[in-house]
Subunit: 451 residues, 2 copies
């Protein structure tokens, strides 16, 4: 039975399908009391108001693809899953703006944009399952952040249910609005702790032109950041992806996926990059010229520019060998840290040396969206008893580097013990004041991000 | 005498230069008790803590170029002017990131970026006087928003002094950070009501390539939005400015500035636009092609593409005739409303008809950065006694159009009576909860934005 407006707390499901007890993090917490799958903002508001009255704790769920455990319920929780609120309510094809319910999947949004002649640029592997409300609440990004930014840049307005069941509708659809603080930024990235996002207005982008992919071998990690600087300057917004990978990452991915090696030249670091122009514009000459400069400067030892889309996709298959790698190395730990470019080499060299010394049998891989400051570290296999020691090594190397423990996946439960690495006591105190102001009884997603 | 850390309240200036009593809005309020011009965050914190103890009210000042009266002090206020905190503290020329004190002028930031081989894209006419802290607190934008966004997109991190004198240093310098709610968004756009911004980390951009300017005559207002859609799709991020102007605006500007008419073809609407590629890329062919399509489609009646930079500057001089126009029409009212594109024609036609019927002797001009949803209305001359009636007509036409009363200048004091046009009671209640949570005694910039 569905939640109704009249008796919401009584109308949820109590024999709960186990798929609502987990996300992709694998974290296990407990058995919730009831599952609601409302169909409207009014239903969400009624459920939250009832919880506010009776003191129940709420876990909010989107597509359950999170990697930080934020959507995993505890014993006795009231679960609100937004999967039935998946309507594409309106597309303005003149201006390129869409209004949707929060439970629409990212893929639904992408396809609706495409059908209207536009493009929605946030994109992740979980696109078929993850929901835009969850994407907004975790400020998701993906592989096109270097060109288009994260969800924070894609969301123009929000409707939110607050912890007392009141509804704030701020479905602004303006690029520029200076009428006081913009409420949307309270809810983007706060992981459902300040309110439940129920509807969104999204900014679409013009469809991009053709993409040219290149694969480059680099002799040093400093060369990777120098190449990124030079390509940003030469290509401007045409630089639409820049992924770096360690040689261990590339070797393992090639072995597991069976893909042909894009370059014969051996090097400690590889970069995969895309250049994308406006429709009808060919960015290939500019890309060739920039890469020739980089080779002349010694930043790049060798490189290949894909002759066509199919070859470009084969280059990308190396980076997308991640599922095979994660299967091969498990039990593993997957980090999504972020650092200033000047700290990249120091962090990687020290973290790799310490991890290798302490866990010589495990494989430690470094790769990521460097243009967004994002470095992934995958380390495994490890015994679960060693997980904490691996965390301590990687997060310990972030201290003093103005880094973040999460550039992408969020804090949830899993990274909460390390929030202090990224946020000062004063910042956490400020976040706590906001939580108290908006949710005094800690009804919404209690225990996420900070205690 | 300057504020010191030990006895800040006693060490400010009491014989206050009249220039600290006004901003560019012309609003007059009263005589402050003391003026502080601190040199450091610690001095700001000490002054605020003293005010928190003795119940003084604080007016925060940047470059005093605001148009909404937000920096104008009242009788008995403690004024904190940030002009002495103008250091460019650090430029990372590898990654294109700058750390500055809040009192640095916009022009200082632009020049420091230029000197490091980068570009700071926020730009306004007041660049020589306005300060980046003020730019952030009002979420300033300017003429390049269509390509680069507003201050919200340029600020990566902030340091803020809260109402109790505590300091929150969140000088993040990462493009992507998903470690909980990002505190910077509480302070960008909230006009100094939640905290005083003392330092910022700013994101620089690669230097753009050459700009090509065009001037087009359009037979209809619907054609203006259709042209904008088509140019966005054809040029993508190369479309770097799109300004529309009514024929009255163009005629008056040409008469007052003496500039040669860019196009002989008479039309009710004109568009001035820039296309800017990456360095070394020539966007002229793509712009020509897009404009030819628009002429074939009947959207554009005639157009001229500037043959060189000097001609492009002459085209821009038409749009930049604003100071002469403002002098000619005063006493006038200058609006910076924002609307969805689909509402543009309805709003302008109705507002113009009503203004003309009610004030047939006055001139009513419509123009603006349409790509950012921003429409300026300038109406004058008016007797001061009629100002409120003009406000009522223009803001009244925004009702039901999902519009904003301020796309650019902020609310301050002057637009406060009309905030309800843009923000629902629920949104204002939410903003009030934040104000109460962070500044219970209303010490910081009291009376701005909302009561």
């Amino acid at each position: 039975m569905d939640a109704g407006t009249d008796k919401p707390a009584a109308s949820g499901e109590t024999g709960i399908d186990p798929r609502y007890l987990h996300d992709w993090s694998g974290l296990e917490r407990g058995t919730p009391r009831v599952l609601h799958r409302p169909r409207s903002t009014e239903e969400v508001a009624a459920i939250v108001a009832a919880c506010d009255r009776d003191g129940s704790k709420i876990t909010v769920q989107g597509g359950l693809t999170g990697l930080a455990g934020g959507a995993v319920p505890a014993d006795g929780d009231v679960v609100i899953n937004l999967e039935r609120m998946n309507a594409i309510e309106h597309v303005d094809s003149l201006e390129g703006i869409m209004q949707v319910q929060a439970g629409a999947t990212l893929q639904q949004v992408q396809l609706a944009a495409e059908a209207a002649g536009w493009y929605f640029p946030v994109d992740l592997g979980a696109r078929g399952s993850c929901q835009v409300g969850g994407n907004a609440s975790t400020n998701a990004g993906g592989i096109r952040v270097i060109r288009y930014g994260t969800m924070r840049d894609a969301v123009l307005g929000l409707e939110v249910v607050l912890a007392d069941g009141s509804v704030v509708t701020s479905l602004t659809r303006l690029v520029k609005n200076s009428a006081g603080l913009d409420p949307r930024f309270l809810f983007i990235g706060s992981e459902g702790t300040l309110g439940i996002i129920t509807r969104l207005t999204l900014r679409l982008q013009p469809k991009p032109g053709d993409t040219v992919t290149a694969f480059a071998a680099l002799p040093s990690l400093d060369g990777v950041t120098s190449l990124l600087r030079d390509l940003r300057r030469a290509l401007g917004p045409s630089l639409s992806a820049f992924e770096f990978m360690s040689t261990r990452f590339v070797d393992l991915s090639l072995r597991l996926t069976g893909v042909a090696r894009p370059l014969e030249t051996a090097a400690p670091w590889y970069v995969l990059l895309d250049a994308t122009g406006a429709p009808g514009a060919d960015v290939t000459p500019a890309l060739h010229q920039a890469l020739e400069h980089a080779m002349a400067d010694g930043l790049v030892a060798d490189c290949a520019v894909a002759a066509n889309g199919a070859q470009g996709q084969r280059f990308w298959r190396v980076r997308e060998g991640i599922p095979e790698i994660l299967t091969e190395l498990k039990p593993l730990i997957n980090f999504d840290v972020g650092l200033p470019w000047v700290e990249t080499r120091g962090f990687i060299e020290r973290a790799e040396a310490t991890l290798t010394a302490r866990f010589p049998e495990a494989t430690h891989l470094f790769f990521g969206h460097l243009g967004d400051n994002n470095i992934h570290v995958v380390s495994g296999p490890h015994r679960p008893v060693d997980f904490h020691a691996v965390d301590e090594i990687v997060y310990g190397e972030l201290h003093g580097r103005r880094a973040t423990i999460s550039a992408e996946h969020g804090i949830g439960f899993i990274k909460k013990p390390f929030l202090h690495v990224t946020r000062s006591p004063e910042e956490i105190a400020l976040l706590r004041r906001l939580k108290t102001a908006l949710d005094l009884n800690a009804t919404l997603n209690p225990g996420r991000v900070f205690d």
